[in-house]
Symmetry: C2
Subunit: 365 residues, 2 copies
C-alpha cells in the first residue's frame, strides 16, 4: 500500500543484515539524500524532518557504514600509534611505564577529538600497514631513516613524532622534552644537596636523548670545573645496566652522586651502592630518569626525572590532528616540553636545607 511497503517488498529477497541508509530512507518515506543530511546536520531541512529521520534511524538501529563513509570522505578517523620494536615484540619492558602512560594520554586526547588509535609496531608486515586507512600517524622515537615513515609521508599522510626526528625525516611536527634543561636542573639540584663529584650513567647508542643528555652533562662539568665521571652501556640490554652501575661505583674517582639516564638505573645503582657499603643518600646521592611509581617506595625512595609522557602523548596527538584537519598552516612544528624532577630521599641530605621543589606524589597529573 504505502511506498514503505513497496520498498520493503523490493528488499525482502535479501538477507536481513544490518539496516542501510536505504532502509532508513524507505522507512521514513524520504530520499537517501535527506537521511544523510538529517543525520549529519547538513543541507536545508526543517527540524521536523530531521527529527523524524533521526527517530526512524534510531528505531531501525541504523549505524552508518564506517567503510563507506571513509571511502567517500577520505577520512577514517583513525590515527596510528607506531612504537619501535626490539626483536619481535613491540616496546621493551624498560619503556613500559613511559609507553603505557603516553598511550593512555594519547588515546584520551584522540578520543576527545573523535579519533581512535591503532597500535602499529614499526616492524609490522607491510600488508598490515597498507591495509588500514590512517588519517595520520604518531611515531615514537623514529630511527634515522625509518622506511615506514618515509613511505607514509610520500603518501601525503601527516606524521608527528615523539622525540626529535633523527636524520632528516620529513615529519610534519615533533614533540620532545627539553633534555638539556632537565640534565642541568638535576646536576644543579645534586650540587645543591652537597655533591662534589657527580657521575653519569649513560648509553652507547647515538639516539638524540642520549646524545643531548650526555653533552649537557659534559658542558655542565666544564662550566663548574669538574672532571666528567661516566660509564656508558648499551641501554637495550637489561643486564648491562647493572654491570655499568657497578663499574661506575668501583672507579678510583668514585662519584658521590650519580644521575642515571635510564629507567632501571635506580635499582641498579642502589644494588651497587649496597655492595660497596655506600649509604644512600649519606654517601651517595641518586637520581634516575624513570616513570616508575615504584621508585617512591624503594628503600630509600629514589628521586626521579619524569618526562611527563602524558603531556607528550597529548601534545603529539593534538599536533597530529591539527595537521590532519589542516589547522596548522602545514609547516613543520617543533614543541619542546619541560620535565619534572621528583625529589625524594635519595638526593637530599638532611644537613642541607630542603631545596628546589617539594616532593610530589607520583600519581598526580
Amino acid at each position: 500500500m504505502t511506498a514503505a511497503g513497496n520498498h520493503q517488498a523490493s528488499r525482502s529477497g535479501r538477507r536481513l543484515e544490518r539496516a542501510g541508509i536505504r532502509d532508513v530512507a524507505a522507512a521514513a518515506g524520504v530520499s537517501i539524500t535527506t537521511v544523510s543530511d538529517a543525520l549529519n546536520g547538513k543541507g536545508r531541512l526543517p527540524d521536523a524532518t530531521r527529527r523524524h529521520v533521526r527517530e526512524v534511524a534510531n528505531r531501525l538501529g541504523y549505524r552508518p557504514s564506517a567503510a563507506a563513509r571513509t571511502l567517500r570522505t577520505g577520512r577514517s578517523g583513525l590515527i596510528g600509534l607506531t612504537v619501535t620494536t626490539y626483536g619481535e615484540e613491540p616496546f621493551t619492558f624498560t619503556e613500559f611505564a613511559y609507553f603505557a602512560e603516553m598511550a593512555r594520554a594519547a588515546t584520551s586526547a584522540a578520543l576527545a577529538r573523535g579519533y581512535a588509535l591503532v597500535i602499529l609496531p614499526a616492524s609490522s608486515r607491510h600488508d598490515v600497514w597498507s591495509n588500514v586507512a590512517l588519517d595520520g600517524t604518531v611515531v615514537i622515537d623514529p630511527s634515522d631513516h625509518d622506511p615506514v615513515v618515509a613511505d607514509l609521508v610520500r603518501q601525503g599522510i601527516p606524521v608527528v613524532s615523539d622525540g626529535r626526528p633523527a636524520g632528516n625525516l620529513p615529519v610534519h611536527a615533533w614533540v620532545d622534552n627539553d633534555h638539556e634543561q632537565a640534565v642541568l636542573g638535576i646536576l644543579d639540584h645534586l650540587a645543591d644537596s652537597g655533591a662534589r663529584r657527580i657521575g653519569l650513567l649513560t648509553g652507547t647508542s647515538t639516539d638524540t636523548y642520549t646524545r643531548l643528555s650526555t653533552t649537557a652533562y659534559l658542558n655542565w662539568c666544564e662550566r663548574v670545573g669538574q672532571e666528567p665521571v661516566y660509564e656508558a652501556y648499551p641501554a637495550h640490554d637489561p643486564c648491562a645496566g647493572a654491570v655499568a652501575a657497578d663499574r661506575l661505583l668501583a672507579r678510583p674517582d668514585r662519584p658521590d652522586a650519580v644521575y642515571g639516564l635510564f629507567d632501571p638505573n635506580g635499582t641498579d645503582l642502589l644494588a651497587a651502592a649496597r655492595r660497596y657499603g655506600l649509604r644512600v643518600p649519606e654517601d651517595l646521592l641518586l637520581v634516575c630518569c624513570s616513570e616508575r611509581a615504584a621508585y617512591a617506595t624503594t628503600e630509600p625512595p629514589i628521586s626521579t626525572l619524569s618526562l611527563k609522557p602524558g603531556r607528550i602523548g597529548t601534545a603529539v596527538v593534538q599536533l597530529l590532528i591539527d595537521a590532519i584537519e589542516g589547522v596548522g598552516a602545514g609547516r613543520p612544528v617543533a614543541q619542546v616540553m619541560p620535565t619534572d624532577l621528583i625529589v625524594r630521599a635519595s638526593s637530599q641530605r638532611r644537613s642541607t636545607r630542603t631545596t628546589v621543589s617539594p616532593p610530589r606524589s607520583p600519581e598526580n597529573d
Copy 2:
C-alpha cells in the same frame, strides 16, 4: 577510443594524488580485473602477467585503498581492544602493568595474523565506536550488562572477553585465569612455609575475580579448619589499600601470612609490617597478585602471583580471530588459563640467605 585511453583522458584533469588500481591497469596495459587478480593471487593468470602487473604497481607506488577494500569485502582487518575506564581515563594505574603486557601480547598475536588493534575505551563517545569498522572486539573485564558489548553483538560482530563475562553477556568466547586454583596454590604454599593463620586482603566490589578468589579462600579455610581473617576495601581507591593493610595487621587475631589480591597490596603490606615492627618473612609471610617487576627488587623481594597477561592477550586474540574467520563452529568457547606463582623471599622461611639487609637509617620512617 580504447577503454584505457578513455580512462587516462578522463583522469588527466584531476590532481595527481595517489595511484589507483585504474592507473596501474592503464600503465600495465591490462584491465582492472587483471590487476586485482594479479595482486591478490586470484583468477587464472600466467606468472608472466602477474609479475608484470606487480612490477608496474610497485613502480607506481600503488597502495590499495583500505577503505574501498573494506567496503567491498566487508573485512577491515581491525579488531577493537576495549578497556574499562575509571572516570575519564582509560585503565587505572593499578592495572598498568597487566594492561601493558596484555596489550603487547595481543598486538603481536593480532599482527601475526594480519590484524591491527584499535584502542577503544568502553566509555568512548558512541560516534567514535560507530565510526570505525571493526571485524571484532576484545573486551577486558566487561561489566554486568555492558551496553557497548550488547550493541556490538546485536550487529553480529564477534566479541571475546578477557575475564568471565558477568551477567549473561552474549560474548562469543572468553578467557580467564583459574582463580580458584591460584588461590589454593598460594595458600598451600604459605602453609608449607610455616604459616599458621593466613589472612586475605580483598576487595568490596562484586566482580568475578574478587568473588572467586574470596570464596576460594573461604573454602580453603573451612577445609583446613582455620578461622578466616580478611579485610575488604574498594580496590579502585589507591589509598584505601594502605588503610586496609594496616587494619589487617592491627587485628588481635593478626595473621602470620597474608595474600593480597591487588597489585599495590605488596608495598602496602610491607609498609604496614614495618610500622608494627614485623619482619618479613620471619614474622609475616607475604604474597600479592601483581605483574610489577619491581617486586623482585623490594626489600625483601615479594612473592607475586602473575596472571600471565601475555598468555591471556594472545589467547583472547586467537579466539577472536577464529570467530571472525569462522574457524570455531560458532558456539561459545571458554578457556581457563593457569597462573604463575613467583616465589621470592617474602614467602619463604627456610632459606633465609636471600639478600643482605642494609644498615637501616634510624631516623627514617
